[in-house]
């Protein structure tokens, strides 16, 4: 007989009905996105050197960069004038972008970051090309990097920074000690001179 199987089928659907549904009520409730979600690419303009690495690596050719060179006058007299890249335009066409993250990996100066924001649909496809001011605005939505695991090695950058800090601290301490020693020596010399003057006086 097939009755137990049929009853089991009914039981499964009924049990499912009594449980909470798994539907995500998206426009009413925002989804909980996993860390490092790829929503939109944000740009820190100050970090960008217009090196074009991102634009060249982009498989979809969706990054547009225009820049020119500015001359910075020499700071010391008789020195050489320096040149500096100035970013004129940085735009990402999100209608072409395939969210591969290669530009962000390629950027040597950490100018590009993933933001989890994903609600930037447009009615006109041209609006999907985000210019640099808009890309800069996305930067405010970039979350802090995820914390390291509990027993993980500290990040290299932190080690380097700590060493530098220690060195500077040592140096300042040494300087302070030297200064203190000098001062003490001076004071001692002053006192000795004073005493000698007194003795001469008597």
């Amino acid at each position: 007989m097939k009755i137990p199987g049929l009853a089991k089928g009914l039981a499964v659907t009924f049990r499912q009905m009594t449980q909470r549904s798994v539907t995500a009520h998206y426009p009413d409730a925002m989804p909980e996105l996993p860390p490092r979600s790829r929503g939109v690419i944000a740009l820190i303009e100050e970090n960008c050197t217009s090196c074009m690495l991102c634009a060249r690596e982009c498989p979809a050719w969706c990054i547009y960069i225009d820049s020119h060179k500015d001359v910075v006058p020499a700071s010391t007299e008789g020195g050489k004038d320096k040149t500096r890249n100035v970013l004129d335009r940085f735009a990402i066409d999100f209608s072409l972008c395939m969210y591969c993250s290669i530009c962000i990996e390629a950027c040597p100066f950490d100018a590009l970051h993933w933001s989890p924001e994903f609600e930037y649909a447009e009615t006109d496809i041209h609006e999907l090309t985000h210019e640099k001011d808009r890309l800069r605005e996305w930067m405010w939505t970039v979350p802090a990097p995820a914390a390291l695991d509990e027993h993980a090695e500290p990040a290299k950058e932190i080690g380097v920074a700590q060493k530098t800090a220690q060195k500077t601290a040592q140096k300042t301490a040494q300087k302070a000690a030297e200064q203190a020693a000098e001062q003490a020596a001076e004071q001692a010399a002053d006192r000795a001179a004073d005493r000698a003057a007194e003795q001469e006086g008597t």
Binding site: G9, Q16, S21, H25
Partner: protein, 316 residues
């Protein structure tokens, strides 16, 4: 005269409201059985107005008739599919005296009329000038042939037990222990009814993976809506019949005052089972469908008839 008018209006209201309630129940129950939530926006509260919105949409659509179709039959088919259920509702009693039109032969009348509903689907399949529609229509015909017999035999068993063909009379004669005595007939009647309505798991005529949407393939707009409405009206009629014939209609606590509520509660309980079965089981193959009818339901119905006959003789 006024009373007749009132009864007709009430039946009309029931005919327009109950299928929508069943449809909404199906939307919601099926959604939750599949771990979804179903419609949520129409009507501002849990999508209660979804089917009204659907209806408005269907009305707005263009009325398309295929060039090669048999126009008259094609246009007539939805009405033929829908009207029998309206007529059937007329004679199903909700409570003692609460009935559109009390007939002495109401059981016979309902069964005869329900068979006509299937003809509408058959007409649609035949007149659409579409081979998928035709295949679907022929499957409908085969299904009708196979399941009408156990359907009628099961109903005959109750009529035999009650000694009357009047639905009100059957409810009046009903006693709780009939649930056991007529248990086989209950199952046979319900399953055969599902098959007559082409409800899953017996929806071979509209098997979308094979024949698009069977007889309804060429239909759109209001005519399609009428076919769908006919399906849900069919569920209401079948559920009401099961409730009245086998579950004791208005029998229950305080049946003198709220008897009709009991009939409605039982009807909707059966309608829920119809939906529940739809969600739980996959579609049967055409040969499985036929085998179930001829090798399963017909012998069972005959067995039930024998049991009923013995019971009736012993009781006398």
């Amino acid at each position: 005269m006024l009373e007749v008018l009132l009864r007709v209006v009430l039946v009309m209201v029931a005919f327009l409201v109950l299928p929508l309630l069943v449809g909404q129940l199906e939307h919601k129950a099926m959604a939750h059985m599949q771990s979804r939530v179903g419609p949520m926006y129409a009507g501002m509260f849990h999508g209660w107005a979804q089917l009204v919105a659907d209806g408005v949409k269907f009305v707005q659509k263009e009325d398309v008739v295929p060039a090669a179709a048999d126009r008259t039959v094609f246009k007539l088919a939805p009405a033929v599919a829908l009207l029998p259920y309206l007529v059937a509702m007329l004679v199903i009693p909700l409570g003692p005296g609460i009935v559109g039109q009390d007939l002495d032969l109401s059981l016979f009348f309902v069964l005869a009329v329900m068979g006509v509903g299937v003809v509408g689907t058959l007409m649609g399949g035949w007149s659409s000038a579409n081979k998928f529609s035709l295949l679907g229509g022929i499957r409908v015909a085969a299904q009708l042939m196979a399941y009408e017999l156990p359907f009628v035999l099961a109903a005959a068993s109750v009529a035999m037990a009650a000694g009357t063909l009047s639905l009100a009379g059957i409810v009046a004669a009903w006693q709780p222990w009939w649930l056991l005595w007529q248990g086989i007939a209950l199952v046979v009647f319900f399953v055969a009814g599902l098959a007559e309505l082409q409800r899953p798991p017996f929806d071979m005529p509209v098997a979308d993976a094979e024949i698009v949407f069977g007889p309804y393939t060429e239909y759109g707009g209001l005519r399609f809506a009428l076919f769908i409405l006919a399906e849900y009206a069919g569920i209401v009629v079948l559920s009401a019949l099961v409730a009245v014939l086998f579950l004791g209609g208005w029998h229950g606590p305080f049946e003198d005052t709220v008897g009709f509520v009991w009939t409605l509660v039982k009807t909707f309980a059966v309608a829920f089972v119809v939906i529940w079965v739809r969600v739980s089981y996959p579609r049967m193959r055409e040969d499985q469908l036929q085998r179930l009818a001829w090798q399963g339901l017909v012998p069972l119905a005959l067995l039930q008839l024998a049991v009923t006959a013995v019971g009736v003789v012993v009781q006398q």
